[in-house]
């Protein structure tokens, strides 16, 4: 990379490269140790690959963003209950874990410290119905955010999703070409 490039241009390629690295590693560990006879079913394999992709993306972004924290939390919760994805746990960065737990506890404690029930925010129409609500459901971890934060998270999420899709496309083409 030429040093004259501006940081804004560096960011998408950095994102893609880091995501690609993690994703490929996840793929390889998904397929190498276990024999293919383990899951012959396509949908199970594809589901694992999808989860690996989201995991890789979220761990690249780390704890910087709410959606990535929510995604990582969901996946790790799921892995804890199902006990299937042991590989992902190994790859956890220690710093991210400690950061993550701290913020997760903060998130939980916020939810428990419920605001005054007299508040009308529960019935705020723009939050729980309409298109904003759909956006809240789509972006992970954005259920209780206000509008500005929601839009901010949505932009970052769309950015990362687009990068993820592009990397996966090139990977697929790479694999199908050979």
């Amino acid at each position: 990379m030429s040093p004259s490039q501006q940081p804004t241009e560096k960011n998408p390629t950095n994102l893609k490269n880091q995501f690609a690295r993690r994703f490929v590693r996840a793929l390889n560990s998904l397929h190498n140790p276990k024999k293919s006879a383990h899951d012959n079913q396509m949908h199970r394999r594809s589901r694992r690959i999808k989860i690996a992709a989201y995991n890789a993306m979220a761990s690249v972004v780390g704890s910087r963003r709410t959606w990535s924290r929510a995604v990582l939390w969901k996946i790790r919760n799921r892995s804890r209950t199902q006990g299937l994805f042991r590989n992902n746990r190994k790859r956890v960065d220690h710093q991210i874990v400690t950061n993550y737990h701290h913020r997760h506890h903060v998130k939980l404690s916020i939810k428990r410290r419920n605001p005054n029930p007299k508040r009308e925010v529960y019935f705020d129409p723009s939050r729980y119905s309409g298109q904003e609500a759909k956006l809240r459901k789509l972006v992970p971890g954005a259920e209780n955010m206000d509008s500005w934060c929601l839009v901010d998270e949505a932009t970052d999420y769309i950015n990362c999703l687009a990068a993820q899709v592009e990397v996966m496309k090139t990977l697929v083409d790479l694999y199908t070409a050979t």
């Binding site: 990379m1 410290r113 949505a154």
Partner: protein, 300 residues
Amino acid sequence: MSSELFQFVDEEIENLMSSEPPLENGNTFTALLELPPNQAVKLLHSPEEPLPTPNVFPSVFSATAKENSPETTSSILTLPNPDRNTSNPVKQEPLESGSLQNASPICSDPITSRPTKRKDREKTVKSSAKKIKSAAKVTEGEKLPFVHVRARRGEATDSHSLAERARREKINARMKFLQELVPGCNKVTGTAMVLDEIINHVQTLQLQVEFLSMKLAAVHPRVDINLDSLFSSESGPSMDCNFTGIVSQSWWLDGQVNGNTQLTWHPDRLNNFVTPETSLLTYDSGNSASWLTSQLKMEL
């Protein structure tokens, strides 16, 4: 972070105190801010009662503040305002989730525009806000401590609408950014349509991820290229362009093996790189290149 936040709030309180506004019986947040700290403590503990005449509790406010700063910040900010507008609680909620950029507009909003019922109260609020106002007017400032909004000509100067306008402008700025991000959104006008497009785009992307993962599941076990070792063997200046380098490299090898011209296609897809490719190719000269070709030959 909450201690910083609390110091910030403390400064604001002192600022407002210096302008000596008249006291009021209402239990609003600006009333809280414009009171001397002792009154604020009273308000904290008995939010529903009207204010008595000022009692003297020297430095109780700061003392309790330092004890338990997260608790007090949350209690300050979650002061019930049953008859006030509901947009403010909505903003106050995510305050604790930590980013100061959220905190600053929230703290400034009560200062610049809190609902008041008396006209002279409004005037004092605005005048105090203007007194404190700095020269910079911020429309999209994320890290500046104040969001000062001046009423434009022909617009309502109500403190309500000032805050609402500031908030709307912020959100609209972000929506514009989103519009550029989402393809095909420039022609559409209006927030509703833009939101629709955004939702559509996110759903499309998620579907694409699922579809691609299915494709990968179908393709992957057949061709077991161990790219991990390729990634790990690379080192030095080309780490950043690993992915693009390696993909192009394998395509180059593929071109060697199969003799097709896929090399012409991928420079459009991959971003940045001409130099790392050559460096990679020169680097791996014998080892991984031959290994990769042998892998390919074994699998196919």
